[in-house]
């Protein structure tokens, strides 16, 4: 066969390497990482790590010994510089590495703001452990913090900043919070929760530039001419697929990522892609999209590894995602869409509720705040596409498992209910 070469050693790349071994891959596995840190969990970078509740040793993805035990040749601090598709080799600082199968797991990176002063000291984006370390130091010294972009990462950093007692302002270009990712009821809940913790919001705010003194950030200037004092600013305006290597390969793209099928196959024979970098028509999504989540990275990597080793299962998992802010566990199952029928389970003013979204009487998405049981059951109900009993689903005291229309109740559902 020949080596399997994996580019990128994060949630997707590491899982692909381990799953290749589990699926019986006998040949070499070379796992290239542009980063020098041992592969780590990315979600804590805006949460427990940033808040100082966990150190770098506590967020490792796997023990460093595991790569050795599994004969995975992990090359830290060794980015792949070029790929020769015809010759089937990649080039890094140690020369040429031939491959029989190539796995692209280069992920995404933080979008930067093209505004004057964005390169001042004190203006950050957050993607890597290195970024998070720098932001953590800056937060410790900052009096006032401005977050540009009210997305998940921005709100997580805002909650850490507010918990530390920093004066925290979130600037959002749109008129409401997270309007692309969440139904308004959930976005509005998060907004008032943050406001209750002292975070200020400016909606419809356009950043015109960053103002500094001696190279250090002092204020953020808005398009309406106003300025907000800031010792630190985090630009959290979303991510974009890292296509630096892929763009010269002539691979077909989709939704801003490398187009893949349910097996992770790209348009080129022998080349797979997975995780944040892949654009994919998930069976539970209305269109092709790039899903930026740990679950998607892990499940796509498993599906690709299985296919490379001769399996044929393909990806069938329901997408899920979470965000932690303060003491809130916000969990999302499925992909929401505008125009779906919405059912509220529970009262947002109690701090625990689930917003269900139905299309054609079937559950397509569930957004839960501090209602983990709803989330876990929703993953199953979305996967099984069973018709939902709307009245039962709207009653927070009835377990969601019981909100399935009687005639559709399969033996599996019956045993799944508490």
């Amino acid at each position: 066969m020949g080596a399997a070469v994996i580019v990128g050693a994060s949630h997707a790349g590491v899982q692909a390497a381990l799953s290749l071994r589990q699926s019986g891959w006998q040949d070499e596995i070379v796992l290239f990482s542009a980063e020098t840190d041992h592969p780590y969990h990315r979600p804590p970078l805006s949460k427990a790590f940033l808040a100082g509740e966990k150190d770098a040793g506590q967020i490792l993805l796997r023990s460093p010994d595991l790569y050795r035990d599994q004969q995975i040749d992990l090359r830290l601090g060794e980015p792949v510089e070029a790929i020769d598709r015809a010759g089937r080799f990649v080039t890094s600082k140690s020369g040429r590495q031939p491959y029989s199968t190539l796995l692209l797991a280069t992920g995404s990176r933080a979008r930067r703001l093209a505004a004057p002063g964005a390169d001042l000291d004190g203006v950050f984006t957050l993607r890597s452990l290195r970024d998070s370390r720098a932001i953590k130091d800056a937060l410790a010294a900052a009096g006032s913090v401005v977050i540009v972009g009210g997305g998940f990462i921005g709100l997580e950093v805002a909650s850490t900043s507010a918990k530390l007692g920093r004066k925290t302002t979130v600037l959002e270009a749109l008129p409401t919070l997270l309007s692309r990712a969440l139904p308004p009821a959930v976005g509005d809940f998060l907004r008032s929760y943050h406001e209750g913790k002292g975070v200020r919001f400016r909606f419809g705010a356009q950043v015109a530039g960053f103002e500094g003194e001696g190279g250090r950030l002092r204020a953020v200037r808005l398009a309406d001419g106003s300025t907000i004092a800031a010792d630190m600013a985090l630009v959290g305006i979303g991510g974009e697929a890292d296509l630096d290597l892929a763009k010269d390969l002539g691979l077909r793209l989709s939704a801003g990522g490398i187009e893949v099928d349910a097996h992770g196959r790209t348009s080129a024979e022998g080349i797979y892609a997975m995780g944040d970098v892949a654009g994919f028509q998930n069976a539970f999504a209305p269109a092709s999209m790039r899903l930026e989540s740990v679950q998607n990275a892990v499940d796509q990597a498993k599906a690709a590894a299985a296919h490379i080793c001769g399996g044929d299962a393909g990806l069938t998992a329901v997408p899920w995602f979470w965000t932690d802010q303060y003491d809130l566990k916000v969990q999302m199952a499925g992909i929401g869409r505008p125009g779906a029928v919405e059912i509220l389970r529970g009262d947002p003013s109690t701090g625990a509720f689930t917003l269900l979204q139905l299309v054609d009487g079937r559950l397509i998405a569930a957004h839960s705040v501090n209602r983990a049981a709803d989330h876990m059951m929703a993953r199953r109900l979305i996967a099984e596409r069973v018709p939902i009993d709307v009245a039962a689903a709207a009653d927070a005291a009835t377990p969601l498992a019981k909100a399935v229309l009687a005639e559709a109740t399969t033996s599996r559902m019956a045993t799944a209910g508490p």
Partner: protein, 110 residues
């Protein structure tokens, strides 16, 4: 300075492995750092994936942190059978009282 205690993991085949655990870390983190197979921890300790499930039959009463309602909910839907001794190892903090505690790894995490 954090001290170290000994934690024991019992694997699916019954074999027991003793590892050094740092106090203040979670039992899940202890398993990962020590390369103990069978603790997946997909969510990295956010109490949201239930792939760090362990059985705590051999742990003395009263030494584990209380279970939160969220952990309780997540355990209901863990891949392996839920038993009275089931816990999510990312929610158990290592302290001196856990010295030589045994955590049993379940059949499946997915």
């Amino acid at each position: 300075m954090s001290e170290s205690v000994t934690i024991i993991f019992e694997k699916r085949d019954g074999e027991r492995i003793e590892v050094a655990a740092r106090t203040g870390a979670s039992v899940m983190e202890t398993a990962v750092v020590n390369n103990v197979a069978g603790i997946e921890a997909e969510c990295g300790g956010s109490c949201i994936c239930a792939t760090c499930h362990v059985y705590c039959d051999h742990v003395a009463d009263g030494v584990l942190d209380e279970m939160s309602p969220i952990e309780d909910d997540m355990l209901d839907l863990a891949a392996a059978e839920r038993r009275p001794s089931s816990r999510l190892s990312c929610q158990i903090r290592v302290g001196p009282a856990l010295d030589r505690a045994v955590f049993v790894i379940p059949e499946a995490q997915f």
